[in-house]
Every structure is written in C-alpha cells, then in structure tokens.
Symmetry: C2
Subunit: 425 residues, 2 copies
Amino acid sequence: MSGADLIVSRIGQLVNPASDRVARGGEAGRLRVERDACIAARDGRICYVGPESGLGSACRPAPGAREIDAGGAVALPGFVDAHTHLPFAGTRQDEFRLKLQGASYQEIAAAGGGIRSTVRRTREIGAGELLAACRLRLDRMLLSGTTTAEAKSGYGLDAETELKQLRALRGLAGSHPLEVVPTFMGAHEIPDEFRGRNRDYLEHLLREVLPQVRREGLAEFVDIFCEDGYFSYAEAEAYLAAAAAMGFRLKVHADEFTSNGAGELAARLGALSAEHLIAVSDDEIAALAASDTACVLLPGVSFFLRLGRYAPARKILDAGGIVALGSDFNPGSSMISSMLFVFHLAVFQLGLTIEQALNAATINAAYAVGRQERVGSLAVGKDLDLLLLDVPDYPYLAYHPGIDPLRLALKSGRVVVRDRRRAEE
Amino acid sequence: MSGADLIVSRIGQLVNPASDRVARGGEAGRLRVERDACIAARDGRICYVGPESGLGSACRPAPGAREIDAGGAVALPGFVDAHTHLPFAGTRQDEFRLKLQGASYQEIAAAGGGIRSTVRRTREIGAGELLAACRLRLDRMLLSGTTTAEAKSGYGLDAETELKQLRALRGLAGSHPLEVVPTFMGAHEIPDEFRGRNRDYLEHLLREVLPQVRREGLAEFVDIFCEDGYFSYAEAEAYLAAAAAMGFRLKVHADEFTSNGAGELAARLGALSAEHLIAVSDDEIAALAASDTACVLLPGVSFFLRLGRYAPARKILDAGGIVALGSDFNPGSSMISSMLFVFHLAVFQLGLTIEQALNAATINAAYAVGRQERVGSLAVGKDLDLLLLDVPDYPYLAYHPGIDPLRLALKSGRVVVRDRRRAEE
C-alpha cells in the first residue's frame, strides 16, 4: 500500500465543525480546534489529521510526497454553498436600481422582469457560452473559499433550456475543480406558454422533462418555488411526491416572502432541505426541527433586497433544527457568490454565533447537498478540501470583515487558489 | 518642458464624481462617465484626461513613457477613507463576542473594556512595533482601494503615547504609499488619571500636549468624542474653540449613540466635519446642511455593533448637506478597513444610491480630510490616484458584493496594487 502523497504541515489552528456528520440545535454551537496540527492525504483523500508527531505510523509519507507548509495559518474545511442558481445568462442590473429604490421582488416580476427576464436570455445563450460564464463564476466562488456548491436549473422552463443548463453543470464537472451538485428546478416559475396552467406545466415537467433528466443522470435533486404567485402548497405537494417516486431527492424553496406551510411540507415529505424560510411560522419551525430536513438560510437575499428582516435562525437552532447556509447566487435577488460574505451576514445580520455560522457553512451545508460523507469537515476518509487563512485565529475571520484572508485553497488535494496578491511598494 | 511619463490607456469606463470639488445635496447624486478614455501623468500628477485622440496636443508622452493598458477596465479615483483610528495596539476580540451577544458599547466601557483597554496596550507597545502594525493595516486598505486615509490618535490619553501615535503616522509618510492625514484625538476618552475631571484633562491637552503637536507639525485636525459618558457639549465647545485658536482645523465625533447637539456645534464652530451622526436630530441636520461642515457617515459601526439603525443619510442629502464616508476602522466598534465594504454598506444599509455612495467615498471624503485640491477625482492637476476594476461598468461594483474587483491601483502614479491572484486549475 502506498503512503501519503501530500502533507500540509505547520497548521497553527485546525478548525473543524462540531462533528463529521450534521450538527443540529445546540451541538452546532461548538467547533473542534486543534493547535499545531498537520494533515496528510493520498489521492486527494485525507488519511491523517493530528499532531505531526503522530503522522508516521498512521499514514507514512511516500517518497517524493509534496509538502505544503501552512506557516502557522488557520485551516478550515472548504465552504459548501448549499443553494445557488449558477447556470443563468446575463445580469439584471436594470432591476437592481429599481430594487434599491424600493420596488418589491413581486412588483418587478409583475412588470415582466424578475425570473422571466433571465429565462429569455438563458433560452437564447449558446451552450458553450453558458458553460464559459459558469466557469468564471466558479472561479470567483473558489476565491471566496467555496469548494462545493449546489446549482439549480430553472431559467429555462422548457425541456431544451433546462437540459442545456443541467448539461452545462455536467460540463463543469470535467473542466472546473469546484464540485457542483445539480438540482432540477424547472418549477422555478410558470413559463409564458403555461401561464395560468400551473398544474399542466408541472405535469409537463413530470412527463416530458424529468424522465430525460433521469436518463442522463443530470440532477440529484428536484426543487420547487412554493410561494404566492408561483406554485401553491397543493401543487408543490403533488409534484414533489411524483418526483420522489421517480427517485429524486427533494428540496423546497419555502416561506421566502410569505408563510404558506411549505416548510412543514418539506419536513413531511422528507425533503433534504427547506430553503429561505424568512417568513417561516413557529409551527413550521417545530415540524422542521423534528425532522431531518435541513433549513438552508440565505441571508444574502435579505441583504440584497433590503428586506429588513432575516430568517429566524436562532429560533430554529433553539428548537433543535439543522441550520445550513447558502449564497442563493442569482442575478435577481442575491448577486452574492462569496460564502465568506454570507458568513459575515450570518454573524452580523442573522445573529448566528461564529461557531454556528461555521458549522452552517461547512458540515451542515454538506449535509444539505447530500455530501456529508465526503466533504464539510477535515476527517480521515473525506476529500482534502482545505482553506488556509491568513488570520491569527478563526474568530478573527468574523472580527475583521472585508479583508481577503485566503492564502491557499485545496480541492481534493489539488491547489486551486494560491494568493499572490500583495500591496506593492 | 518634459512630457507625460505615464499613460493609462484603453480605459473602458472612466468614472468621476459629480465635480472636482465637494458635491452637496442633489448634486452628489450624479457621476461623470467617459467611455474609451485615457489618462496621462507627469511626476505622479495628472496632465491629461480624455479620449486618446486628444492626448498628443495636451500632454505629449515623453520618450520612454510607461504605458499601462487598462484593457477596457473601469477606472475610478482611489477611495478616500475619511475616518479611521489606525494607530492602535492589539485587538478587542474578547469584547467582540460580548457585543455579538448583545452587550452595548457603553456596558462594555463601564466594565473596563472599550477604548480604555486599547489605551493600556497602546501605551505599552514600542514605537517600531506600532509602526509595523500600521503598515500591515495600510496594506490591507490599499487592497480594498483606499489610497488616502485620515487617522486619529486617541489611544494614548497621555502626552507620551499620543505623540507616539502621531509620530507613527508621520513614519508611515516616508515608508508607505497610502497617504495618511493625521488628526489629534487625545479627547477620545477620559484617562484613569483624570477620571471625573474632564475639564482638567482637556486643559492638560491644551497646555501640555497640543503645543508639542503643533511644534512638530504632527496633526492637521483636532477631534473630540462629544457623547454621554465622554465629553459634554460645553466641554467640547470650549476645547474646540481653544484648539481652533491654536491653528488646528476641527472635526467632531457627534451624535453617535445619542443626540446632544454636537452636530450643531460642529456646524457653528466651522468644523470641517461632523462624524457618525447616527442619532442626529432634524434641527442639527438643518444646521449642518446650511454649513460647510461635511457629514462623515460610518455605516461600518452600525453593522459591526449590530445597532439596527444607521445615520439618516438621505435626509442629510435631501436637506442639501455634504455626505462623506469613512470606515471608522478601530478595534472596538468597527474592525472594518475596506472602503469597498463600506461602499456596499452605504448602498444596501444606509440607502444611498450607487452614485451618492461613490461621491461620498471619493471627492466628498477628500473634502472632509482637507485634500480635495489634490485627490478625490481624476482631473488635470490632481494626483494620479487610480483604481482599475475588473467589472463591466461601475454599477456592477454595487451589484455584485463580496468579489474582489481590484486589478490595479496607482497612488501618485505609482503601482501600489497589482492583482496576480487567480483561481488555479
């Protein structure tokens, strides 16, 4: 058996989430911190974590093994972004000004803007151009410490474009180191062709689109926007049950602007996640906390839309729920691709403790995208997805917002970001 | 006469504030935008701004002139940070956790934390170590686009340490490209030696410290923290009048947590700026708007302390006032050194338009630190303090928070930041 081919030595503070599996409620308030540690990996997978003195016996370095000297830096697992709408075309800067002036998300949608304006452009863009746009966005995500991200289709709303989006995500798998977890979200809006016929549209997705998605293995999850003006509780229930019967795992856009029971629905159907939850009710919180459904909170939306209110994160934790974080990166309601920025919003706006926010951005987000066995913590057997940070300790990461602390990022043991940016004199 | 020694060519969008002098009220809502421009400079000072076709006649490039190809990037004047407490020792991460849990600034100060805990450490630190700490902080500021920053003493509260702080600022002038504008703020807190004897302490500053500051030419401005629990309106009035009589220009920490008339005082005494103003009254807004006193707003404090309220920026603009921005970088109430981050808070939390925020972070901040003749816009005769940004247009800078757009920064025509940081594959 061959030895380790990569050693990351002289880690000043190695910071891991509360556990190597999902942390709920109070447990999510702590971290595991080791001083003066090292990590060894073989073929991109961790084979040792601990003091350097223990390295030899557990996972002997092979001749010619590469060594990365962390120089006392803080090490964290790579961030997992549990919710993005990555494969879109164009921006929505025109609407952005209206939003800053106070127009609501629903008002803009009613005026022909919103999701449907991105749908028009995403239908027009060529597959190669879409892939190229996604690659640049993933580069920016890597630079903010994200090494795994969920990504939803849903800017096509027709078979051809939805498949184009999902195939772009598959194209990324072979051409970009950031790992993308694909979700089918054809039920993101009602396309003009089906306006007023929501059930027909969902039936169309179930009969014409999802079978093809399954044949090509293009998505792991099915998600739906269950919200006033989009899909109702009853429509979502029938659609999700049918998608589950086809073998897809479930996610739900729930209670983003108004509470309609979608959070409870997610819990009842055993969805892996309910996402947004800004308007979630106390009853729904109780249902979610009693389930294994992760609450994926997206503070970027509240910030970007200037809503003045955030999801009740601490209430969910106090009830024993699972809190994870995502950026909701999309051109309309959260043009935020940085999980570091989301981490700051979680601490300063959502009211999470530093430890809760780090759990939510690592192991719990990994759980929410079905990847906790492989990523979300630095543990033997998991992928070596590692951030080295130029800060004195992990709380400093929250304490000094607006700096770029990332010195090095590894994805599956491969260097994907190396900081060479410096002030010159 | 020699020609230009530096040409920045192929600027896709050159963005300047509303004017090359301070913009107040409605005027601060616009920018001047040129497409396909270039800038030429000689000895670090701008000698031409305009289309490339006009370059030859106005400011002919000298043989061997350096050319920087902007490659279609967006160009902005370097940010001016109108308010920092740069020369401090240590951090206050211990307090930071208490603040996140809801302890007030005043409660922490009453428990022996707050400004006085930084005073203890700043008294202890060696001059060389203080200078080194400041240099690292300025590096980080440069990386966020700040090319000029005001910096206050006020963590000494005794002659020796206040002078040590100001001498550190002077030391930076010879060893760091970011330009620092020094302010004496001995009246930042009441030191233990003078506890309960505010007037004696101010008298001490006026008799024992300020004369030495003036002899060495160590500060341009005098500032005072006029706030409940610190210095009263009457104390501030007498102190500021005496400092003005000694030849110092005035700044006032006014209405940060409670309204006590300090904003009106600043206007009445002709202070160049009133700073904070979270709690400013409508009467004071009227007085400030009728004066030439800039309102330096510091949204980082509201964000960092989770106050849930921000200075009434739009009210001040509607009244015709001058709005400028600063970071208030300090270890207690705003560990935020990035003016790009402050710009985002100004747009998303203070409610400024993108244009108002850019005026406030450039020309109006330059005015507030007495530098509008030299910096704050890209104009012939001013220093070439320039940012090249990797964004399609200037509104994108607001639209996509959390990315690092800075490709190149020039200070007085010298390259001080060059981006070589990339995702690797």
